[in-house]
């Protein structure tokens, strides 16, 4: 618990998390508004399109959760604070598991905020355009809770990637390239495989991807990925010489 307390204190005593939160909310507003206002009225009246508008903002929660997780470890190497951290708390497994727990909580909160704001904005835009809202209570609740769970697991994935790479810029670019390029390419070139990738699983957990795994299997597989990457990260950090 001392590591979790220290990690929360680290987040509260710089403005990094505030900027990350504002950037995420800004992009949620931008993405949902562009989809909500840019699509034709005929399309917006259909349920799948309304889900698409909601998802446009919902996905950002997972991406920013991963960035927050990665920053929790890469900023330590960037600023050299890894030395005083490991001198004060020499058990590296405990330090990394404490970081993982804190990142999961932060990721859950980011996922929740992204999905709640995406849902509110989607409903607002549909009302503004005088369109009948076809998204029901279950769609929204599933999306919001699933998005929050995605955030928690993606934050741990991000932490693991950050711990394996240790370079902050590299980790951030890696996460963006994976989400924006690699998974999108695989959706077209290898649709069967793409259903098992983290981005697709996140959408399945939030109930927003057709023809893929159900919520429970997707959540289990995403949790397994997070656990495997975290284990690899802990093993790497335990072996790393901190010069």
């Amino acid at each position: 618990m001392t590591v979790v307390r220290a990690e929360v204190l680290k987040l509260r005593t710089t403005r990094t998390m505030l900027w990350l939160l504002l950037a995420m909310l800004g992009l949620v507003v931008l993405a949902v508004t562009l989809h909500g206002l840019g699509l034709a009225l005929e399309d917006v009246s259909k349920h799948p399109t309304q889900m698409r508008i909601f998802i446009a903002g919902q996905n950002l929660g997972s991406v920013f959760a991963a960035l927050a997780g990665a920053a929790a470890v890469t900023s330590e190497f960037r600023y050299g604070t890894i030395r005083p951290t490991l001198v004060a708390a020499p058990d590296r497994s405990t330090v990394m598991l404490g970081k993982a727990g804190t990142s999961a909580l932060v990721g859950f909160a980011l996922g929740l905020l992204a999905t709640v704001s995406a849902a509110a904005l989607t409903l607002g835009l549909l009302h503004m355009r005088d369109v009948t809202v076809l998204l029901d209570h279950d769609d929204l609740l599933h999306g919001i809770l699933g998005g929050a769970a995605d955030g928690a697991l993606w934050a741990v994935l991000g932490l693991g990637i950050g711990g394996l790479m240790r370079n902050q810029v590299g980790a951030i670019i890696g996460i963006f390239v994976w989400v924006q390029v690699i998974e999108n390419l695989l959706i077209d070139s290898a649709p069967k495989v793409s259903s098992y990738l983290p981005g697709a699983l996140a959408q399945a957990v939030a109930g927003s991807r057709q023809g893929s795994l159900g919520t429970a299997p997707a959540l289990s597989l995403l949790a397994l990925y997070a656990a495997v990457v975290l284990a690899a990260c802990v093993a790497r950090i335990r072996r790393t010489d901190v010069a």
Binding site: T2, V3, T13, Y79, V87, A88, D241, V242
Partner: protein, 237 residues
């Protein structure tokens, strides 16, 4: 303060075929300040990091009162260390840096005000570290090292960036610390200053131990600088 003896036994670190530190052994006794000397790249910093478990030794061990650093019940209450002058988040205040260290080490926040006063940073405590001078960062590092009221201090170039008043303050801090039974190892290139602060000297060069003796024996009537250069020139020439 409980006295803690430090034993460095056969510390070795190799990267491939290159030995950065080779079979270095020495003891640090309570009540003494030991100077840790050597040319740039001699392996001093690597040795200090191995002692604290930051770098895994290829061979050898360091024992603080018979225990490795990571096996200590409360490492921060036993050992305080200053390794680099820049190991701070630039946008976190000095005060909050100490709160983070206290939380990580399982220490109470209560002593923070006291150690900030000890190192002379009370007025600057709530400023972001990026606004600190090099000397102020050194003082903050020392404050973090003192937070757990440790019995051992391991300081890597602690006088770097300190003004003359700061150097004199550091000297008196070390004197008080060892007068109360503390054990200190101080690495520095400021030999004139070091000769006023230390009781014993450990010299390494190219990763190998050249001397582990008391200050007067090493000097043998010469200045510390003359004695050091005579000792190390034979190795580096």
């Amino acid at each position: 303060m409980t006295n803690v003896e430090v034993e460095v036994r056969g510390l070795t670190k190799t990267y491939g075929n290159r030995a950065v530190v080779a079979d270095v052994s020495f003891n640090l006794s309570p009540g003494t300040v030991t100077g840790f000397l050597g040319p740039n790249g001699a392996g001093k910093s690597t040795t200090l990091r191995m002692m604290l478990g930051l770098v895994e030794p290829t061979a050898g061990v360091t024992l603080f009162g018979g225990r490795a650093y990571r096996d200590l019940a409360s490492p921060a209450r036993t050992v305080g260390a200053v390794l680099e002058s820049g190991d701070f988040h630039p946008r976190r205040s000095g005060y909050n840096h100490l709160r983070v260290i206290a939380a990580l080490a399982g220490l109470d926040e209560h002593p923070i005000g006291g150690v900030l006063a000890t190192v002379g940073l009370t007025k600057a405590a709530h400023r972001q570290v990026r606004t600190y001078s090099l000397g102020m960062r050194q003082r903050l590092g020392l404050a973090a090292a003192l937070l757990g009221n440790p019995q051992v201090l391991l300081l890597d170039e602690p006088a770097n960036g300190l003004d003359p008043a700061g150097v004199a303050w550091l000297r008196s801090l070390l004197q008080d610390f060892t007068a109360n039974g503390g054990t200190a190892l101080v690495s520095s290139h400021l030999l004139a200053e070091l000769s006023q602060s230390v009781d014993r000297v450990v010299v390494i060069s190219e990763g190998r131990l050249l001397a582990d003796t008391d200050l007067k024996s090493l000097q043998d009537g010469r200045s510390l600088e003359e004695a050091y250069l005579a000792l190390t020139s034979g190795v580096t020439a």
